[in-house]
Symmetry: C2
Subunit: 462 residues, 2 copies
Amino acid sequence: MDTDFVARQQSRLLGELSDFLAIPSVSALPAHAADCRRAAEWLRAELSRLGCPAVQLIEGDGHPVVWAEGPAVPGRPTLLIYGHYDVQPPDPLDEWTSPPFEPTVRDGRLYARGAADDKGQVFCLLKAYEATLDADRRPPLNVHFIFEGEEECGGHVISDLLRAEPERTRADAALVCDMSYYAPGWPAVYTALRGLCYAEISVRTLERDLHSGTYGGVAPNAIETLVRILAGLKDESGEILIPKLYKSVEPPSKEELRVWKKLPFDKADFLRDEVTGQALTGRKEYSIFERVWALPTFEIHGIKGGFVGEGAKTVIPAQATAKVSLRLVPGQDYAKVGRLLERAVAALAPRWADVKVTLLHGGDPVQVDVDHPAFALLDEAFASVTGRKAVRVRAGGSIPIIPELGLTGAPVLLSGIGLPDDGLHSPNEKLDLAQLWSGIEIFGRFYELLAERGGPTAPPPA
Amino acid sequence: MDTDFVARQQSRLLGELSDFLAIPSVSALPAHAADCRRAAEWLRAELSRLGCPAVQLIEGDGHPVVWAEGPAVPGRPTLLIYGHYDVQPPDPLDEWTSPPFEPTVRDGRLYARGAADDKGQVFCLLKAYEATLDADRRPPLNVHFIFEGEEECGGHVISDLLRAEPERTRADAALVCDMSYYAPGWPAVYTALRGLCYAEISVRTLERDLHSGTYGGVAPNAIETLVRILAGLKDESGEILIPKLYKSVEPPSKEELRVWKKLPFDKADFLRDEVTGQALTGRKEYSIFERVWALPTFEIHGIKGGFVGEGAKTVIPAQATAKVSLRLVPGQDYAKVGRLLERAVAALAPRWADVKVTLLHGGDPVQVDVDHPAFALLDEAFASVTGRKAVRVRAGGSIPIIPELGLTGAPVLLSGIGLPDDGLHSPNEKLDLAQLWSGIEIFGRFYELLAERGGPTAPPPA
């Protein structure tokens, strides 16, 4: 590996990453479909430049999957690298200090939508690959790249692809760099991710909005009805009131609980700097780690209905809608939870309302067996650069495709170079440049360790 | 009165009214301030054309009040005519069959925002006045016109004016034509109106939106907090849970309840044609008339928060807002009710949220003494055209200025030519043209009856 790679080329690297981040590849918004394609094309060009023959854009019912294979290195293991080039919508726009798609460096941090989630991390893995190319531009091992454009919107182009061609996941290890350090100086690998069940609940009580004077007292109000249903799905203590929801939840292992208890954690800092709130919520009988890593949640993401313009309008609204989701933990199944949600909403729906639950997308929770030898190699790579092995934690978030990446038995290494205050999905998302530069070295080293000691080559695709 | 007035001039009248309705005088939306002024100017020109000397646009902190006095008719009584030239916002626009500010006749009905509330009715009173002008264009009695532009938005230009110059309300009777028939063929006068207390409730739980995976389980969700507060303000049976709210409510009189029991009413028709819903809500221990006329209500008019775009975004929202109002009944006071609401919300606010109640506007409920002889004259006018006297009912709606129109003791006649299915505040608001044409005759006759038998002239303004 070229250990001076970063030192010599920081300004080129920063320019390239800024170009990638400037593409507003917001997968959830149809108006940005062409931008998503531009981001995929950016990756295609980059992978070609890095020497991958025949980079593919694989089309489906949505944004394309980018697939590439580095030059074959016989006798060496195969690493599958996953990432996503799509980003979350940037709103609320007025809370960004610099515009979300005009990458800007302030105090050693690069601010842009996607800086940490996940374009900056995809970029880190690509540059680590570039740094390990030899004088003939050959990598130390077989690397397959798969980058999707629908991680943030629940599309299924990648999962359709892997269902049709599961051999694409045949590898000695899969690396997913969409996560963060546990804390500055504390690299992490993840033993579990929560799953997701995302839905829209819509209520109609009238054919048309009515005058609240003339009909107030007898006409059913759609917002009020929706509000009462939502309030009936979770109580103030944080307990979700969907019957049978907790039944299949598997509690964390004793070993996990032991490790979590020893993690450095300052509740006051967490509340002030990360949550930016006045008090925490949730089930007090569980620790904070258990609440965010090992318990399901129910959140309302958005709500609208009636008159929300300036001033006052006295209508009884005919319809109202909310977007909600549940995070799921090992033991739970997102299709089953979707049915439990539908049933719970139906039970709360009064006779005066048409109430509809539309399941928008979801993914099962993930549990990773971190005993595979590849994890020790990743530890070694982290330790060589940061002085510390990766701590075993969980994540509250979800990457729906993870179970499918492990289809053919490759261990899935969930890790990353983000920091907890990166502001994923929030205004002013950022990536610390020091994390990027050290990350390129860490993952370059990991590729080399895996090349040397990563076990037998996976058999070639059938 | 020129009894052929309408028959000869329908097409001119329809053209004039359409011009008036085409002005989008939406008082609640700052972008339409110039349109409100155009509507006021339209009235100024019309009143001048009708022979009123020195029409005034009285300015204040909002949209102007239009004031005019017909030529003085010594020895005859004075009638004060009130109406409003502003209209409700037209949204949801996509539910209109023809655009709200392109007046369109279909099946004998004129569709436009403001057709019934209140421009069409203001127009009816002006044309009734025109029809009673003699060959020298002199009216049969003294008429003072006061038209405001803030009835729908809670502005206070008119109330500031009347507080400063209460003598403007000195009259033998005040006529407010902003109401509807009880049913087709059943003209009505109103013995009470509900008051209004309109407020915005806003909740902030975080400085910024958070990722629902990373922080779901411990971070307070602003929408969830708002939803729980709203659900805590009213139960599913329709009982409002604001402490002490019902304490001062005065029940309707036995005579009122007796009249209401005999009104023609078909609950199935009401539900299907007017409410356009599947079932009624509200307090089952009271009749429908009591629920809409004699009990306070709490309604949520609009709600917003978080991500409401297309697709899925997994944020924990930092803030959320709802617009709400209470309708008030005789015995209640809007300022006091505002304080009760603030207190109830504060009691429901959890420690993790900043919850703010902003009182936007309001008005006290109205009770009218319908024993004054002017009501018998209005009955006579109605009977002469429709064959039926005006039935005594209440209205669930509010006209905040009414108490102030009666400042100097003039009886306030609340009546109108609308029909219950006019769709006030809704898409496809309309006015039946047959109601307009007969209304011009009815009110022309009322002016003449009042001129002949309406008692002594009010003393001239001091």
